[in-house]
Structures are given as structure tokens and as C-alpha cells.
Symmetry: C2
Subunit: 253 residues, 2 copies
């Protein structure tokens, strides 16, 4: 499958963002030749396709050039929790402490383009004092999102959780030019949304209905329109200004 045409096809659909210059966000990717090398290692995955299975082999760094990618873990009986959803221009570090295996499974939620450069990055000596800079903007943002989500899953009601996850996705998509004003596309089934925030798909459906009935949002299929952003932020218990600063890679602001 020709990667170039796939990239082009995807980019023709949504608002255009050229990933190459924006990859400059990534730690150690200020060098343009390196960025080109990353692009060259890109591969396209179909929606639903497995990128890595838990405990399997993986590259240390994955760059999401386009699409939605879910990282998840599973209990023996099949109950599944989505740990995080990576959006275009996010960076994933699926390597576990032992250095060989992935600590999570990775699924493409939509058709996705993922770069997994192995050779060039191993030789990449991270020059900056990475730790004191907070682990690189993209990884720090992922951690902040994770903490916010743990807080809602652990303490929030279903209404608050769904409100939160919609707001999180809206803010992140807006930042990368993939929202259309107050509208955006949630490229997840209600089943998957439930796995993301610890609810059954049936209850996700009910809560979405209630959010519509309350005039906070409206939706047709996966297309969401935020009608009352402030009200949504209040439900999610989010201060929008601080929230953006924390869950977005710094360079996005």
C-alpha cells in the first residue's frame, strides 16, 4: 500500500495540517532531515487494525501523523480499558520499563498514519536536560490528560465523565485544526467511549441523550456540536484556560 497516497487522501478530507513542520514540537526533532526520516517510516493502518498488542514488540517512539489511536489494557475476561487516545501529532512511548515489550495494546480507531522510526532515533542523543524540562511537551501533556481522566473516572458521575471526555477531545481537536468551530467528530463508537471512561455503552448513550436534552450539545452520529461551552466546562469541572495549558503540548498554545 502506498503511504503517500493514503496520507494525501486523508489530508484531503479534513482541514489541512502539514505534519512535517509541526513535528518540530517533538523532542529531538528540530532537525529537518530527521523529520523527513520520520515521515519516511510512516505506515497506514485501517480502522480497527491492531498496531501493537500488549506485551508485543514495538518501536520506542511512535509518531501519530494522522488518525486516532487508542492505547488499552485488558482484564482476563475481556473487559477493556482505553488508557489514552492519541490524536494527530501526538507521540506515543509504548515501551515498558524492561525496554523490549509494549505495556499496552495499540489500535487504530480510524484510518491512521503512524511513523515508527527505529534506526535513526536510537542514535539520537537527547541533548536537552529532558527531565528538568518536564519530559518533552507531548509526553508531559499525555501525563496531564491521564491525571485529569483518573480524577473523573475515580470521582466523577457518569454525567461528569462524559462531559469531561467530550471537552477533552474538543479542546485537543481544536488545537490541531481538526474542529470546525463548535463542531467536531468523535471518531469512537459509544462502546469505545465507555471503555475510555469506565461506563457501559448503554449508559454512555443515555448520558449523551441527557446532554442533548439539557441543551449542552447536539449530535448526529459521531458529529458533535457544542452548544454551551461554559456549561460543558462546568459539568466537566474544568477551567478552560488552565486546562488548555496543561493537556496540550506546550508548543500548541
Amino acid at each position: 500500500m502506498d503511504t503517500r497516497t493514503c496520507v494525501d487522501r486523508i489530508y484531503a478530507v479534513g482541514p489541512k495540517v502539514d505534519p512535517v513542520p509541526r513535528l518540530a514540537w517533538c523532542p529531538g526533532l528540530r532537525d529537518q532531515k530527521l523529520r523527513a526520516e520520520v515521515m519516511r517510516s510512516a505506515r497506514t493502518y485501517r480502522a480497527g487494525e491492531t498496531i501493537t498488542s500488549e506485551g508485543g514488540n514495538t518501536a520506542p517512539l511512535l509518531f501519530i501523523l494522522d488518525g486516532w489511536v487508542a492505547s488499552w489494557k485488558m482484564l482476563w475476561d475481556g473487559r477493556r480499558q482505553i488508557i489514552d487516545v492519541a490524536l494527530p501529532l501526538d507521540v506515543l512511548t509504548p515501551l515498558s520499563a524492561c525496554g523490549k515489550r509494549a505495556w499496552c495494546g495499540l489500535d487504530a480507531l480510524t484510518i491512521s498514519v503512524v511513523a515508527a522510526p527505529s534506526m535513526p532515533l536510537v542514535s539520537l542523543e537527547v541533548p536537552a536536560p529532558l527531565l528538568s524540562q518536564g519530559l518533552g511537551p507531548s509526553i508531559a501533556a499525555a501525563r496531564a490528560r491521564q491525571a485529569e481522566r483518573i480524577l473523573r473516572i475515580g470521582q466523577g458521575s457518569a454525567y461528569e465523565r462524559v462531559g469531561y471526555v467530550l471537552l477533552e477531545l474538543f479542546v485537543r481537536l481544536s488545537a490541531i485544526g481538526r474542529a470546525n468551530g463548535n463542531r467536531f467528530r468523535v471518531s469512537m463508537t459509544q462502546q469505545r467511549i465507555g471503555e475510555y471512561i469506565g461506563l457501559s455503552s448503554v449508559h454512555v448513550c443515555r448520558v449523551l441523550s441527557r446532554l442533548c436534552a439539557d441543551g449542552i450539545i447536539s449530535h448526529r452520529d459521531e458529529e458533535i456540536e457544542v452548544l454551551e461551552l461554559d456549561a460543558l466546562a462546568e459539568i466537566a469541572d474544568v477551567n478552560l484556560g488552565h486546562f488548555r495549558e496543561r493537556i496540550l503540548p506546550a508548543a500548541t498554545n
Copy 2:
């Protein structure tokens, strides 16, 4: 307050572990003089004392030399979620993406000794290709624990959650020589355990009773004895071998 005497006093209580050589686990701390510098910046906190408040100033790296430290986030109405519990020899990176403020609050759950070296570590150029090594063993382990916990909080029953958290603490304490055979001390109130796994303190109490009634554990106050480790691992849905590899800093194994 004289740090040395506090350290000594604590170390006189539990099984002894000299933190200085084991700090060699930490990324960039192989140099003995640096380690001594870290020790010199240590400060003692009383149980319940705030180390950092959410959004406050913080050092980029905190070394837990002794004690239990909870990192937490809160909703506006006071509901609190403990994001992670750091034990002796763990490393915390509370700095958020913006690089100035802490993304979480930090409380000492017990009397604790925490080193927060600011000067020497800023000048520390991380030499190894840190990313490809998985972010340093301690931080990678913290992330793995977090993923495991999200899975249980999102998908597990109360019984599974409590079983999991007891097992997690038991495994981690054993690794640093702070368990006594099958016995260990949970230095958290049931209220705090609940905040850690998203349950009310009342229900934590009930589940603990049930674990005792089922012969899995026994406990007096905060002193827990694991009677049936395999059964506990089954409840927690954990493969002990893999689990240890993943949630412990690599050098511990």
C-alpha cells in the same frame, strides 16, 4: 529540624535500606558526588503535611528517600483522587508541561524524607538516549502502575480494586525490603485507600472485611498479612511474574 536525625530515626524503625547506594537506580545519579548532593537537599515532612500544592512551585525532580507520598488532584467540591503513591526510592516529576507549576498536589502520608535538588540537576545533561530507554526505570514503572490502576478503576469491581491495590503495595514494599514476609503496613487510612481507587471509605471497610472473611488476608489496624497470595493475585487479575517486571523500577528485579 535536623534531617540526619529524622532519617536515622525512621530507619531505626523498619528494615534498613541505605538509600544512598540505591539512588544509583535513578537516571543520571550514578555519580556518587551527585548522590551525596541529593542527600544534602533532603527535608523531612510530618505525616499529613503538604509538600506541594496543585499549581504551586516545585522542583523538577523529587527523590523519596523515605516515607509514603501521595500525589493527588481535586474537584471543586472537594472530591479528591490520589493519582499515585510514591514509596521510598521512587522519583517524582511533578512539573507540568508549562515547566513552572506542579500538575498535582503532594502530601506526605507518613513522616517522609524528600530530596528536592534544584541547582545540581539543572546542570545535569542527561547523557543516555533517555527516550529509547523508556524514560528511566522509575518513571516508566510509575507509568505502568498508573495504567494498571486505571484498568482496575475503570473496569474492576470494588473487590477487585481493593485486591489490586493491596497487591500493588505488597509487591512494591517487598521489593524495597519494607515488607516482613507476608506482612506489611498500609500507611493509609481507609479513606485514603478509597481516594486511591475511587471508593468510599465505608465500602473499602466492607471489602476489607470480606477479604478477611474469605481468608485472603488478615489485618489489625494498618498491618496486613497476605494469607493466600495466589488467590489475591487472581482477584486482582495479576500475573505476579509479569506484574513485578512491569511496575518495579528495572534495577529492583
